[in-house]
Symmetry: C2
Subunit: 360 residues, 2 copies
């Protein structure tokens, strides 16, 4: 009992400076060489501006047709059946290309009811709604996640925190792969705590950073530390910022986002069940965050950024701030005020989708 993993991870220090990282880098490079679409670093698949894309629609279409969703896992192609357990969907019982082949925009958020509201809203915005239309939950038979679809838009809940969204993303990316989707953008429309911003402000994430403000996502894989990049797609950041400028409805900023593994101690709150620090300690941390260009704190952006990058998906995080953490910890605004705040990322992303489809 309690024997540590000697062969693979001798101790904590070894874990941090693990030679496995080199191996991972090599493997990553190997995987990347298989397809130019896997990483957007060279911009070959993702550099078209929205205006240019509209002006040169034909060329845009041609250049993007090769950008099928790629997995960073050679094993899946050899599987006879793939059960997406937490979606309650399987390749042996569902026709993924027929069900999802036309998806171009995936919007994700923590709350299932919010994602249901969003599908109704975007259906109306895209002129795809019909009187009395219902949007059934595609993930019927499980309550782990909820999924809704209208036209080219998929709306999926992801629960709270890195592990929960990671499960959803593994299965979502496989779903898009099995469905032979191409040129998909994935946008998280979430809620967060702001740093030095008026409540209700919207933050578009440039880099997701960890609790020490490092722009990376760390995880332990087979006992070895693996670190991945969390940069967002700068082109998509600028396109979304332009959408906010078009709308002129609320303050929107571009900034870095702390992805915390905890809502209370991990975010320096003084109101959890456990707290061994003072208001002064907390203020020092949050002010250091502000000085480092951090504008908000949420709980999913780092793994979201790194997984989408690794699989060549264009991705963005757009979160409203419910409070200014420099001024407090508890979310005290009335329900109707928070409900209006919650809609802001949806309105911004709806405008982006309509603009992308040439509907505004």
């Amino acid at each position: 009992m309690g024997k540590s993993l000697k062969l693979l991870c001798k101790d904590s220090a070894a874990c941090v400076a693990d030679p496995g990282q080199t191996r991972f880098d090599l493997l990553t490079r190997g995987a990347l060489s298989a397809s130019s679409c896997l990483l957007p670093s060279d911009g070959s698949c993702h550099s078209d501006s929205m205006a240019a894309a509209r002006a040169e629609a034909k060329e845009h279409e041609n250049s993007h047709n090769n950008c099928l969703i790629q997995l960073a896992n050679p094993h899946v192609a050899a599987m006879k059946e793939d059960i997406l357990y937490h979606f309650n969907l399987s390749t042996s019982t569902c026709d993924f290309p027929a069900m999802f082949g036309d998806v171009k925009f995936v919007c994700v958020g923590g709350s299932p009811s919010r994602m249901k509201k969003f599908i109704r809203y975007i259906a109306v915005e895209l002129g795809l709604d019909h009187p009395g239309e219902e949007y059934p939950n595609i993930c019927v038979g499980t309550d782990r996640f909820a999924m809704y679809k209208v036209g080219p838009v998929l709306s999926v809940s992801h629960g709270m925190g890195v592990p929960s969204i990671a499960i959803m993303l593994h299965e979502l990316i496989k779903l898009l792969y099995h469905a032979k989707c191409s040129n998909v953008s994935v946008i998280r429309i979430g809620t967060s705590g702001g740093i030095g911003l008026e409540p209700g402000s919207v933050v578009i994430t440039r880099q997701a950073v960890d609790a020490c403000f490092k722009p990376e996502f760390e995880q332990i894989v087979l006992g070895k530390r693996v670190v991945r990049n969390t940069d967002m797609d700068e082109q998509l950041v600028q396109e979304l910022m332009q959408c906010s400028a078009d709308l002129k409805e609320f303050t929107t900023v571009v900034g870095n986002t702390i992805c915390s593994l905890d809502f209370y101690e991990g975010q320096g709150r003084l109101d959890g069940a456990i707290c061994f620090y003072t208001e002064k300690d907390k203020q020092a941390y949050l002010q250091a965050a502000q000085a480092a260009g951090i504008r908000n704190i949420e709980m999913e952006s780092s793994v979201f950024a790194s997984m989408c990058r690794t699989c060549g998906l264009r991705a963005a995080v757009v979160c409203v701030t419910y409070l200014d953490r420099l001024k407090g910890d508890q979310i005290t605004s009335p329900h109707e005020v928070l409900a209006e705040y919650e809609q802001r990322p949806q309105r911004l992303v709806s405008h982006f989708i309509k603009k992308s489809l040439g509907k505004v």
Copy 2:
């Protein structure tokens, strides 16, 4: 942008060997000295065996009456109002002692629908069910968590992964504190992947270990690494094991449990969207886990164990295994088989509650 938190966490290596750990230890000890009920290490609150407790009911009651729920946070007592945001409950609008003061057993699990089924089941088992009785969700107005109550039993969902259950536990422990509850046991009834066990086996966790098999829970608080103990209450483990022996319905073992931050790469699965290792690598990891006394892998036990210990709550983790990870990754058993497996921890814990209440 990307500037790291120099004052609080100079770099990754400093983070690991941070002097803050000493400070945390001192603070923890300081908090503990305030109440003998905060940690069960001396056994003063938790050492009664179930049989002894029944035989000496009066003494048991007297000795436990002082074990009110304690927070490890001095700030909460000074708050005028405490909004438990993710439960949609507030001390200014709810009478916590009236609503929850009689709670003695809290059962938690990932899925809201499973926790609803459990409250119906335990109501019947305790003879507290009435024809046509409904068990409304106490957390109405939010879909973050679901909560149900019957008699002394509270049933609460926690979503998937460490961050999600940590949010729930912070708010649950504060709820029990505001309600002035005493002598509460918290049991996670979950699902997991087994290691070298027949599917359907139940594992009672002795120690929750991390992905490198270390029995600790690590988190970053204000940029500093904090490590906490994840031992479970050995007395409760033995009582639960005796309940399984009483029932004779399914195989139950006591063992260590990996608490992973991921379902796919973090657990060595080959079927995620991302996988840069081989079947051989995976087998080496899982076999090393088996050799270290690990019997299953799930995603919540470490923070569950450490938070309950820190706040003096008697806690246990009872998970059924859906598959043997040495033989595969996908959960392929038919729905009805999994549904029966899912009930096993519920049956075991129901027997424990009935026995504790002198009802068997």
